[in-house]
Symmetry: C2
Subunit: 121 residues, 2 copies
């Protein structure tokens, strides 16, 4: 995978489900993942790592305990490790996540929203 | 820095020089850097790490010993560690790099093109 160029928007055509991150690239032991999100996710945190959100298309919010981060296309945010956060998108939003291999999408909050964390597209 | 949202295109307005990566965010010990590139860079490699190139605006090429990678806006490529590469852009191109903190832009090929590797904007 890593020896091919990757067209981010074309990769989004390969899946349609929400809240189900797909891996598109690896940088050492870090992964670049794409996700379509819509509606409200669960509150969760990642105790071992920061997490990068980059909006590729659309708008989203990241609710933190003390504030709300609003992101539009071309904007990014680093959720510091151990920070409770809840992603939200009123309309479908396409995002790219960057985080270490093995990070679970719901952090320590395992639920029906928890997805296999190493699905490549 | 890490608790603020980052608008990638607005960050590019903060500098104009070529081949001089600027840090905009950190994810654990990894950095997201922006660079304006134009013309031909030097052949170099990073023996300790992969390196991600993402084209934000424009077009670029990454010359490898055995092939040429052509990237346009919205495309990315992972140069595997230890791989000789030479970035090139005919017209100015805006890119985002992702790599561990401390990576030198010219790898092991120190020259007048070598830049301070931890300048934030």
């Amino acid at each position: 995978m890593r020896s091919k160029k990757i067209n981010i928007k074309e990769k989004f055509l390969k899946f349609s489900e929400h809240w189900s991150p797909k891996v598109i690239a690896e940088l050492n032991d870090y992964q670049f993942k794409l996700a379509r999100i819509k509606g409200e996710f669960v509150w969760h945190k990642h105790d071992e790592t920061d997490e990068v959100f980059i909006v590729i298309e659309g708008k989203m919010k990241i609710e933190l305990r003390e504030k709300m981060i609003e992101l539009k296309e071309g904007e990014m945010y680093v959720v510091p490790k151990g920070t409770d956060h809840r992603p939200y998108a009123e309309d479908e939003c396409k995002i790219m996540l960057v985080e270490p291999r093995g990070v679970v999408n719901t952090g320590g909050s395992i639920s029906e929203l928890t997805q296999d964390n190493d699905v490549w597209i």
